[in-house]
């Protein structure tokens, strides 16, 4: 019979498959004997800055080739790659819950031996420490740039009408009324992308509750119902001064609208500035800290690590990776990034604070800052969507429902974590 023929057809089919395999395989090999270092950043908006940085690095280094990727939906892609166990060498991520999770999964390498770690401002190293579920020996991230969130405003519009920068919540509401009375829309929110709901929330919550609220809850010392009531109530108030039906418009729409002067203020972080300027390059933007409290001295600026670099534990070429990190941490390199993206450098030194953050500069200089509350929220809990649900809820007891749900969901989604923290405390207690 035709075993031979079967074999022949099989080999043809295999040949096709192999041919395709080689087709995809060849893309991997890079220029001659250089060591390739792959950096994946989660900030697609900074792709131009990274391109320039990579170009400079590769022009000055002969033995190491730096490849920087800033894909869209980067966090999903990065996690998918982790699931595939296909790790880059360095990841550029934010100082948020993802960092905590990756660190907890033991994915990162201790880089405390790197000289550059010594030049990071202490407050940012502390912020990273606070993100560790269970205190961990060593340094696992090199904080690069921080952002600040509060209110961005249209400076020309403010000057034209003679509006004053508010310092307390009452002044802020009075200002909103005044702007509204002059026929201009005070705020633009763009709540369609759920994460945007958390921008004003974070800015409010840092002023109104403790920076380690989540930790305190994990330890059983307090509840969110207690800590978050005022923030939740004030979130509702903001809706009165925003575009009708903010759930129809997303972040992109809000940036565009603010850039075109459709609102006087926009409660968002400094990370939105490049996008706004891309619509209106000559726009005169300034900012101020969210006046969440009745007394100015209680206000705190919402600031967190926007970008930091972590080295994957199983990276093969530690020296080459350190070479890249050293280059990234040179003042000039940082300046390239700042010029393109704005923000505040995490390195000690004379970096100019961008003009758009003028109104926040005293807070930055005096270190009156606290990390985003949502950096401690587990992503699967989807607090952003919870927030949107709450804002859409027009019933009388919406605040109570929201706070109750926050507490119960928190317990459910942090079950493993709470157990871990308590186990750690017990072990620590036993050891003493």
């Amino acid at each position: 019979m035709s075993k031979r023929k079967i074999a022949r057809v099989m080999s043809v089919v295999m040949g096709i498959v192999m041919g395709m395999a080689s087709l995809t395989g060849c893309a991997q090999s890079t220029s001659d004997d250089k060591v390739e270092v792959e950096l994946v950043s989660y900030k697609p908006e900074a792709v131009e800055a990274f391109e320039e940085i990579a170009e400079r690095f590769n022009a000055t280094h002969e033995d190491v080739y730096l490849k920087i990727d800033s894909p869209n939906e980067a966090m999903t892609i990065l996690k998918t790659r982790f699931i595939r166990e296909d790790y880059p060498d360095i990841v550029g991520i934010g100082g948020d819950i993802n960092y905590s999770n990756f660190l907890d999964a033991d994915l990162f390498m201790d880089i405390s031996e790197l000289e550059e770690v010594r030049t990071v401002k202490q407050s940012y190293l502390d912020m990273d420490k606070e993100l560790e579920f269970v205190p961990k020996e060593g340094t696992y991230a090199l904080p690069y740039v921080a952002n600040a969130a509060g209110i961005l405003y249209n400076r020309d519009m403010f000057e034209e009408h003679g509006w004053q920068i508010p310092e307390t919540w009452n002044e802020f509401i009075a200002l909103c009324e005044e702007i509204k009375a002059s026929g201009i829309q005070p705020l633009y929110l763009g709540y369609k992308d759920t994460w945007t709901c958390l921008a004003p929330w974070n800015a409010l919550a840092v002023g109104l509750s403790d920076s380690d609220t989540c930790n305190q809850v994990n330890m059983g010392n307090t509840t969110f119902a207690e800590e978050y009531r005022e923030s939740a109530e004030k979130m509702k108030v903001l809706l009165d001064y925003a575009e009708p039906n903010p759930y129809a418009y997303g972040y992109n729409d809000a940036c565009t609208a603010f850039a075109r002067g459709q609102s006087a203020m926009y409660p968002i972080g400094s990370y939105a500035i490049p996008q706004i300027k891309s619509v209106n390059p000559t726009m005169n933007i300034d900012s101020f800290t969210f006046p969440a409290n009745e007394a100015e001295e209680d206000n705190v600026l919402n600031s967190g690590i926007d970008l930091q670099f972590c080295v994957m534990k199983n990276c093969e070429n530690k020296e080459a990776v350190y070479e890249v990190l050293r280059f990234l941490y040179e003042d000039e390199t940082i300046q390239i990034y700042l010029d393109n993206q704005g923000g505040v450098a995490c390195k000690e030194g004379d970096f100019e604070i961008p003009a758009e953050l003028d109104g926040m500069s005293t807070y930055i200089e005096n270190d009156r800052m606290a990390d985003y509350q949502d950096h401690h929220y587990p992503s699967e809990m989807s607090v952003d969507a919870m927030m949107q649900t709450f804002l859409l809820d027009n019933s009388e007891d919406a605040v109570d429902i929201f706070l109750k749900r926050f507490d119960t969901d928190w317990e459910r989604y942090n079950r493993d974590l709470i157990r871990k923290v308590q186990q750690y405390q017990q072990e620590k207690g036993d050891a003493q």
């Binding site: 035709s2 023929k5 096709i16 395709m20 893309a27 994946v40 166990e85 296909d86 565009t256």
Partner: protein, 280 residues
């Protein structure tokens, strides 16, 4: 009586022609916006539906560049075409073997049920383990996506082929058998050509499914630098969301290849789809 029956129903014809607006309107709007400049976009109906001031292909050129159009198109073509060819070759012989074997043996009937029941397995249950598995096997790339399509479409295609086989008399094969031809040869020489109508159906159904699929390439090969056309749109959306004109130019570009293909092969496609339903 007969005369009356053959009269054209003009009222219905007109209603149906007017109804095509529901098909054309979204496409027309996308097309118009793709040619406009951001400054031409106003917040009223006329602004959205009027012709652009100038018919310029700038948006398209720019969109081609940012989405790496030719590369994505190439990937989509490579994946779809390879899948179709392999599906017709492999699924047809699998359908043949199962269909003929089923008639005589219990074991083949069991195999038939095993494969066809795969139709009920939602991709979501396979997705997460597959991401891991394909990566471990070095298949987190276009080859992996093709292999997965071959498996995902196997239940439907085997069902179609083995169903169609009932129309082909066994006597033909038996005659060839007596002439001393091997089963293998008989299949490719006699049976395979006779299943031609089903090949068209299988090719079209498989092609429509793979060409437009987002989820498989999204989870299997995102981050590898390789995009398919729909995947490129997904990436594009987040990156340049503020520029609707550019975005729509890119959407139109993504729709054109399949539209052109449809216009050329409309008859075969409609027949193929109908055929698949009747035989399935």
């Amino acid at each position: 009586m007969m005369k009356k029956a053959q009269k054209t129903n003009w009222v219905l014809t007109i209603v149906l022609i007017l109804g095509t607006v529901t098909v054309f309107f979204p496409l027309y709007m996308a097309f118009i916006i793709a040619f406009k400049q951001p400054s031409e976009m106003t917040n009223d109906v006329a602004g959205a539906l009027s012709f652009p001031v100038k018919w310029s292909f700038d948006n398209f050129e720019q969109a081609m560049e940012v989405t790496d159009f030719w590369h994505s198109l190439g990937n989509s073509l490579l994946i779809t075409l390879t899948t179709i060819v392999l599906a017709v070759l492999i699924h047809s012989i699998a359908g043949y073997v199962i269909g003929r074997g089923m008639a005589k043996k219990k074991s083949f009937h069991f195999i038939y049920l095993y494969i066809v029941s795969g139709m009920f397995v939602p991709f979501s249950i396979l997705m997460m383990p597959l991401v891991k598995q394909t990566a471990q096997m070095g298949l987190g790339n276009r080859v992996g996506v093709i292999l997965l399509y071959l498996v995902f479409y196997m239940p439907m295609n085997v069902l179609l082929y083995s169903g169609y086989l009932k129309n082909i008399p066994v006597a033909l094969e038996e005659a060839a058998d007596i002439d001393g031809a091997s089963t293998w040869k008989t299949y490719w020489k006699i049976v395979f050509p006779m299943m031609k109508p089903m090949h068209a159906t299988v090719a079209i159904l498989t092609a429509l499914g793979t060409w437009n699929d987002v989820m498989t390439p999204l989870v299997i090969m995102s981050g590898t630098g390789q995009n398919t056309l729909p995947l490129a749109q997904l990436n594009f959306q987040t990156q340049f969301g503020t520029n609707y004109n550019l975005a729509f130019a890119s959407y139109i570009l993504a729709l054109i290849p399949i539209l052109v293909f449809y216009i050329i092969c409309q008859k075969q496609i409609l027949n193929g789809v109908a055929n698949g339903a009747v035989k399935g």
